[in-house]
Symmetry: C2
Subunit: 761 residues, 2 copies
C-alpha cells in the first residue's frame, strides 16, 4: 500500500495522498489544541472511516451507570458540505489532483489543498486552513478558499451538528438552538449526567455575497450559503467557533449570560479580524512557548528534531495547565482512547518536561493531585485502607477511580476481558508523590514542599495499611498487585511497587520531620508508629545470585516461550490473539519496562553490574506492547553507555505515532506518555541532564547521528542553556538575578561554574 | 442529474446506478420488514449519506427527560466490510460496472449486484441478497456471493455494531457481548430508560474454509473471516440474525433464558437451512398474504399496479398486527421520521385496508386504542377534561401524549418552531372512534361492538367537556384547535373537528342504547345529560350562501396570496422558507384536505352541489404539503365524477415515495398514510366500493388508462371478488358457508345477488 506520510522538515508533516482508510491516523497526529480544547483533524467532507472529535478539558460525563465517565465528544463544527453546481465535492467523487495536507507543529496550523474537477467540468482549487488558537483558548478558526475556472454556483453548508457521540454513547442533551442577529449560530446544551452547561457559537464570514438559507434539524443547526461565482475568481469562507463551558473558571452558575450573551458578544468582536490576524496572534503565542525552552538537535537528518517538535507540540496542545482541576489524558484530547483519563503517565513520563521548563504548569498538574486527595482518601476507605489511594484512572477531581471494568475479547472464553488495573495497579500512589517531589528537587520550590505534606502522609498511610505482615519472614509484603508490566496480574511483591511504596513512606517521614507542626494534625502517634514500622520492615526485593531483581515473587519461575513472532509484529498486543490474560500471566513475558523503570528512577541505588544484569534479563522478554516502554529502555541503555541501542530505541519511538508503516497505531489518539518520554530521551538521556537532591549533573551521550544538541532548562529558577557536541559541553546561565556559583557533577567530576562553563570530554 | 430509479414491472423497482447522495431514498423505499422488525435497506459498505436503521415494534425509549419517546434504532447487523487483497471494496474505490439493486415487493427480497475491479486487477462479481422473514418474525438473512477471476484473499468483517443512534440520541446501554460456541455472536442489552431488554444473535455460514479472528471494541462485537480464493471460484457468505426483545409476547421477565440461551438454540437450528430455504419459507408467507386479497389492475402500463403493490408491501412490512399493544408509525419502521409514533393516519387512512381484507389485523389495531384508553383518560384529566383524549402522537400503550415540542427553524425569530399539534389537534379522538366503528360496519363484527362501548363513552365525555357553551349563540362551540389542515393553529370551530366530535357523541349515545347494562357502569346520569345536551346543541358549521363550509370561524376572511410558486415546487413545505407559522396562520392556504376530508368521510350528509362548491374553493388553496392530502383529493374528485383529475392525483401519489424527480422525499422513511390512501383510491375510489351502515354499494369509475380492475374484499365475513371493466361489473362471492342473498346499491339502483352478479353500466 505504501506510506502516505511525508516528513517535510523538522516541524512539518504532510499527508501526500488521500486515503479514506487512513483518516484516523491523520485526525490524531494532526489534532489541534491549546490545552483547553482539542479537535481531531477530521476533514470538512465526511468519509466512512473518520472519527470526528472535539474535547474540552474537564468536561466529563457518564452515559449511564454502566459506563465510566469520559471526556464528552462535543458537537461537530468542522464538517462542511460543499457543492459546485449541485454536485457534492468529495475526494471520492469527481477527479482530484495535487492533494496535500500539511501540519506545522511550530504553529498548529493545517493547510489542505487539492484541485477538483466535477462531472460538469468546473475545475476548482481548494485550500483549507485551520487552527485552534493558542492566544484565545475558546477559538477554533477555519478558512476555506475556492478558486473556480468558470462560472458556477458554489453552495456551502456549515453549522453545529450535535449528532456526534463517543462511539455510540451520547453525552449531551439536544439543548437550545438559536440564530442570533441573523448571523450567529448558537447551541447551548448540557451534559446528560454531570449537567455541565456548554455553549458553542459559530459565525461564517464570506468574501462574496451569498444567498443564505438556515435550517434546524434534530441536534443540528445549519446555514447554507449559495454564491454565484464568475470565472477565475476565489471565494474565501471563514468560520469562527467559540466554545465555552460551565467548567471554565470564569463561569458563574448563577449567570447564564457567560454562555449565552457574552459568547455572542465575543463572537462579534472575533469576526472583525481576519483569519490571518487571528492566526498570527495564535502563532505568536506558540512562539513564546518555544522561546521559553528552545531545543535544537543538529544532525544530517531532521527526523529526530521533528519527533521532538511533534512531541512538544502535542504536550502543549493536550495539557490543561490553565486549570488545576484538570490533568492530562493518556491520549491527551486527541481521541476517545482512554476516555481522557489521567494515569501515572503524567508523573513519570510527562511531568518532568514541565518541571524542567514550565514550572508553573508543572505545579498546576501537581495541584490536580492535591485537589483529588479527598477523592483518593475516599477511594482508600472504600477499598479498606487508610490514607489516600490515588485512582489508577482519574477524571474530574471528585470522581475517584474511573477505570472501566472490561476490555477487548478473551479469545478463550468468548467474553470481554476484565480490566483489573483499577483494582490492582497500586503503584500510582507511589508515582504521584515521586513526581511531586521531583518537581521540588528540580525547581527548588521549597515553599511548595509544605503543600505536599498532607498528600505524602496520606499516601504513606495507605501503604502502611496496604502491606501485609509476614510473621515467618519477619517483614511486610505487598500482595496481589499489578506492576508497570500489566501482563502479570495478582502478583505478590512487585519490585517496582514495593520500592515506590518505600519511597513514599520515607518521603512522608522526611516531610514530617521538616514540617512537624503541619504534620501533627494529620496523623496519630499510632499511625506514625505504623509508618516507622512498615518503613523499616518493608520487603524490598534484592538482586539474586545472578544480579537480577525478581519482578515479583513468581515471575522468574514462570514458563518461557519463544517471543520472536511478537517481537517482529508491526502491531502491538498481538500476543492477545494467541493467549488470554490468564495464560499470559503464566509466561515470562513483559508488556513494558518494570524492574528497569525502577532502576532508572533510582539509578544511584543500584550498581552498573546490577543494571546490566537486569537489562540482559528483562529486555529480551519485553514486547513493548505499551508505548511507555521504549523511552524507558532508551534512557536505560544510556545508563549502560550503549548509545547505539539507545538511539535505535529512540528512533523506533518515531514509529509509535509518526510511522508510515503502522498507519493505525494512533487511531484512538496519540500516545501522551511517549511524548514526554521523547523529551526525557533528548534532554535527560542523550543530553545527560539530571537534577535530584544531590544537585545538578551532566553526562551527555550524543548519538553518532547528531552533531550538536542544545537545550534550555530551569534549575532552581535559574535558566540555563546546555550546548553539547561530541567533544565538549558548554553550560551557560542566561541572565537572571542570581549569579551565585553552581555546583555540577560532570560525569564523575565535580565542577563549579558561574555564568558559563565549557567542558571537554 | 437524471433519475437513478427504474420501474421494472408491477412488483419490482431497480436502483440502476449507484449515487452516494441518494442512498436515503433507497434505504427507505426498499426497507424490509415483517411488522415485527423493519430494517432500512442500507448497504453493506458504509457511505457518508446513509442512515442505518433497524427498528422493532414496541421497543420505545426516551434518551432523556428533554426528549420524547421513540422507536430505538437497533445495533447495526447489516454493515459488512469486505477487502480483497487488503483493499476495501467500496463503490467509490476501484472500478465498478453493471451496478443494480432490485427490490421485489412481492417477496421482500433485494438483490444487489456489481462487478468491481480493485487497484491490483482482481475482478470480483458481487451479489448481495437480503430479506426479513415473513415466516420467522425474528429473522434477518443476508447472503453475499463473491466470484473472483484470479487467486486472491477475501476478508469479510461482520458482526453487531451498537454505535448506532437515533440522530445522535443513544437508546441502549453497551450491554453484554459474548461469543458462544465459537460461532454465535450475541449482544444482550437494554434500553436506557424503559429498560426493555433485547437480544441480537448472529452467525456466519461460509461455503469455503476461512481463518477467523474475533474482536470486541466499544459497543462492537465482530468477526473477520479470511478466505484464500482460487481463480474463478465463488464464495457464499451467509449471515443470519435473530432479534428478540422484552416486548415480545413470549418474553418472561423472570426468565432471561428466552433472550440468552433460547435465542442461541434457535440460531443453531436456523443455520442448518440454506439462505434459499429460508427465503422460500418467507416468500410463501408473503404469497399467503397476497392470496387472501389479490388486486389486479389491467392496464397498458404497470406503474399503477406497482404503486399499489409497493403500498401493500410496505403496509404489511410496517404494521405490527401480531401484537395489540403496538400500532403503525407514520413512517412505519422505515426510518426515524415521526419517531415510530402512531397518528390518526392509522384510523382514517390505513385501517380500512385491514378492515376490508384482514379483519383480524384491523381488530388488533383497534385493540391498541382500547389498551391505550387508560392513558387517554389520564391525558384528558391532565388537560382538564373528562373522559378520554387520545394523544395526537401515541407510542407505547402507557405513554399518553408523546408529540415533540419543537420542529424546524422559525425563519423570523431564529428559534425552533413550537409544535402545537400535541396540544391542539384534538380531532384524533373523533377519528379513533370513527375508524373503530367503520370496522364494525365493514366486518359486521357485532360482538366486537360491545368492546367499543367504554371507548365511545369516554371519548364522548371528552368532547362534552372540551366544548364551550356560547350563551349569546345558544350553542356549544369548540375553540382553540388545529384541524387536519395544520397551517391554521388556534382556530375556533374547525368544521372537521366539530363534525367528528358530533359523530363521536352520537356513536356513544347509540352504543349506550344498544348496551345499556355495560354503559351504566361508565357514566353518571349527570354526565349522560351532558352528552345529550352537547350533542343537541353542538355547532356544526353549515354551507354559506356560496355553498362553502367554513373551515373554521376565521379562515374565509384571511388574506389570500398567490400560491403558484408553492404549487409548482417539487419539494413540500417550501412556504416555510418564506413565512413562519404565525404568518401562514393569517393566510388562506391549506397544508392538506380539511373540509374536503370531512365531506369524503360523510358523503351522504352533503349534496353534490355542496361537494362541488367546496372542492372549487379549497382545492386551489391546498398545497398538499402533507402526504395525506392527495389520496383524499383523488377520491373526492371521484365523488364529483371527475375521473381524469382523480387519476392525475392518483398518479402524482406515485411521486411521494417512488418518484425519480424528488429523490429526497422519503429520506426519513416512507409515507404510511399515503400507502393506505393508495389502496383506498384503487378499491374505494376507482373501484367504487363502499360499505357502511346502509350496506354494500358499488359505483366504480375506471380511469381511461385501465382496462380492468379486479379486487377481493370481505363484507361481513363473506369474501367477494369484484371485476370491473369499462362497461360491466361482475361481483362474485367466493365459496363460503353463508349463501344468503346480498343487497347491493349499484350506482343508484338496488340489486340483490347470490353467488354472482354481472351488471352493465
Amino acid at each position: 500500500m505504501g506510506s502516505t506520510i511525508e516528513y517535510m522538515d523538522s516541524h512539518q508533516v504532510k499527508e501526500k495522498q488521500f486515503r479514506e482508510d487512513l483518516l484516523l491516523k491523520y485526525e490524531s497526529i494532526m489534532a489541534q489544541g491549546n490545552g483547553y480544547l482539542e479537535v481531531r483533524n477530521s476533514l470538512e467532507e465526511t468519509y466512512q472511516s473518520g472519527s470526528k472529535g472535539m474535547f474540552v478539558a474537564g468536561v466529563f460525563n457518564k452515559y449511564s451507570e454502566e459506563e465510566v465517565t469520559e471526556l464528552a465528544n462535543f458537537p461537530d463544527v468542522v464538517s462542511t458540505m460543499i457543492k459546485i453546481d449541485g454536485e457534492t465535492v468529495k475526494l471520492t467523487n469527481g477527479t482530484m489532483k495535487n492533494y496535500s495536507r500539511t501540519m506545522d507543529y511550530s504553529n498548529g496550523q493545517t493547510i489542505r489543498q487539492f484541485e477538483w474537477t466535477g462531472s460538469k467540468g468546473v475545475v476548482a482549487k481548494f485550500s483549507f486552513k485551520r487552527f485552534v488558537s493558542m492566544a484565545n483558548k475558546h477559538l477554533l478558526a477555519n478558512q476555506i478558499s475556492i478558486e473556480v475556472d468558470q462560472m458556477c454556483v458554489v453552495e456551502i453548508t456549515s453549522g453545529i451538528d450535535g449528532r456526534i457521540t463517543n462511539s455510540g454513547s451520547q453525552h449531551f442533551e439536544e439543548g437550545e438552538k438559536r440564530f442570533h442577529q441573523d448571523k450567529f449560530l448558537q447551541l447551548v446544551t448540557e451534559t446528560s449526567d454531570t449537567k455541565i452547561p456548554i455553549s458553542i457559537n459559530c459565525t461564517h464570514v464570506l468574501t462574496k455575497e451569498s444567498k443564505k438559507n438556515v435550517f434546524m434539524k434534530r441536534r443540528q443547526l445549519m446555514e447554507t450559503h449559495q454564491v454565484s461565482m464568475s470565472a477565475n475568481t476565489t471565494l474565501d469562507f471563514v468560520k469562527y467557533t467559540l466554545v465555552y463551558t460551565g467548567r471554565d473558571k470564569e463561569y458563574d452558575a448563577n449567570e447564564m449570560g457567560y454562555l449565552k450573551s457574552a459568547s455572542i458578544e465575543e463572537l462579534s468582536t472575533i469576526e472583525e479580524k481576519t483569519y490571518d490576524e487571528h492566526f498570527n496572534e495564535s502563532k505568536r503565542a506558540w512562539e513564546m512557548l518555544w522561546n521559553a525552552a528552545p531545543i535544537t538537535i543538529t544532525a544530517k537528518e531532521f527526523q529526530d528534531q521533528l519527533l521532538l517538535n511533534f512531541a512538544r507540540y502535542h504536550i502543549h496542545a493536550m495539557s490543561p495547565i490553565h486549570d488545576a482541576r484538570m490533568n492530562i489524558g493518556a491520549k491527551g484530547m486527541t481521541g476517545e482512547g482512554y476516555k481522557g483519563h489521567t494515569f501515572w503517565d503524567t508523573e513519570i513520563f510527562i511531568l518532568p518536561y514541565f518541571s524542567y521548563n514550565y514550572p508553573e504548569s508543572a505545579k498546576s498538574l501537581i495541584h490536580y493531585r492535591l485537589k483529588t486527595l479527598e477523592a483518593a482518601e475516599k477511594n482508600a476507605k472504600e477499598n479498606g485502607y487508610k490514607g489516600a489511594q490515588y485512582p489508577w484512572e482519574s477524571a474530574w477531581i471528585t470522581d475517584g477511580e474511573v477505570t472501566p471494568k472490561f476490555g477487548g475479547i478473551d479469545v478463550v472464553s468468548g467474553k470481554p476481558t476484565p480490566v483489573l488495573t483499577g483494582e490492582l495497579e497500586h503503584h500510582v500512589t507511589g508515582d504521584v508523590v515521586f513526581g511531586a517531589h521531583e518537581y521540588v528537587s528540580i525547581t527548588g520550590d521549597e515553599s511548595f514542599k509544605e503543600e505536599l505534606v498532607e498528600m505524602a502522609i496520606q499516601c504513606a498511610k495507605f501503604w502502611s495499611t496496604r502491606v501485609k505482615w509476614q510473621e515467618e519472614k519477619n517483614r511486610y509484603e505487598i500482595h496481589q498487585v499489578i506492576g508497570p508490566d500489566e501482563y502479570t496480574e495478582h502478583v505478590d511483591n512487585n519490585a517496582y511497587t514495593n520500592y515506590l511504596a518505600s519511597y513514599s513512606l520515607r518521603l512522608a517521614l522526611q516531610l514530617m520531620e521538616e514540617f512537624p507542626d503541619r504534620a501533627k494534625k494529620m496523623i496519630t502517634s499510632e499511625e506514625y508508629d505504623d509508618l516507622i514500622a512498615v518503613n523499616q520492615a518493608l520487603y524490598l526485593p534484592t538482586p539474586n545470585e545472578r544480579g537480577i531483581i525478581p519482578q515479583d515473587d513468581t515471575f522468574l519461575s514462570k514458563k518461557e516461550i519463544d517471543l520472536d513472532k511478537y517481537h517482529k509484529a508491526t502491531q502491538v498486543l498481538t500476543i492477545l490473539n494467541d493467549y488470554n490474560m490468564d495464560q499470559i500471566n503464566d509466561l515470562q513475558v513483559l508488556k513494558q519496562a518494570d524492574v528497569l523503570l525502577l532502576l532508572l528512577l533510582f539509578p544511584e541505588s543500584f550498581s552498573q553490574e546490577i543494571k546490566q544484569a537486569n537489562w540482559d534479563y528483562y529486555y529480551p522478554r519485553t514486547l513493548h506492547d505499551s508505548s511507555l516502554s521504549k523511552s524507558t529502555h532508551c534512557n536505560f541503555a544510556l545508563l549502560l553507555n550503549d548509545v547505539d541501542t539507545a538511539y535505535k530505541l529512540f528512533q523506533s519511538i518515531f514509529d509509535i505515532d509518526l510511522s508510515g508503516e503502522n498507519m493505525h497505531s494512533s487511531d484512538d489518539g496519540i500516545h501522551a506518555a511517549s511524548l514526554g518520554g521523547v523529551w526525557q530521551n533528548v534532554v535527560l538521556g542523550f543530553g545527560g541532564l539530571r537534577i535530584n537532591k544531590n544537585g545538578l549533573s551532566l553526562a551527555p551521550k550524543l548519538p553518532r547521528n547528531w552533531d550538536r544538541l542544545e537545550y534550555v532548562i530551569k534549575f532552581k529558577k535559574r535558566k540555563m542553556t546546555v550546548t553539547i557536541t561530541h567533544d565538549q559541553v558548554e553550560i551557560r546561565e542566561d541572565s537572571g538575578e542570581d549569579h551565585s556559583e553552581i555546583e555540577l557533577l560532570f560525569f564523575d567530576r565535580k565542577e563549579v561554574f558561574k555564568d558559563k562553563l565549557t567542558l571537554k570530554y
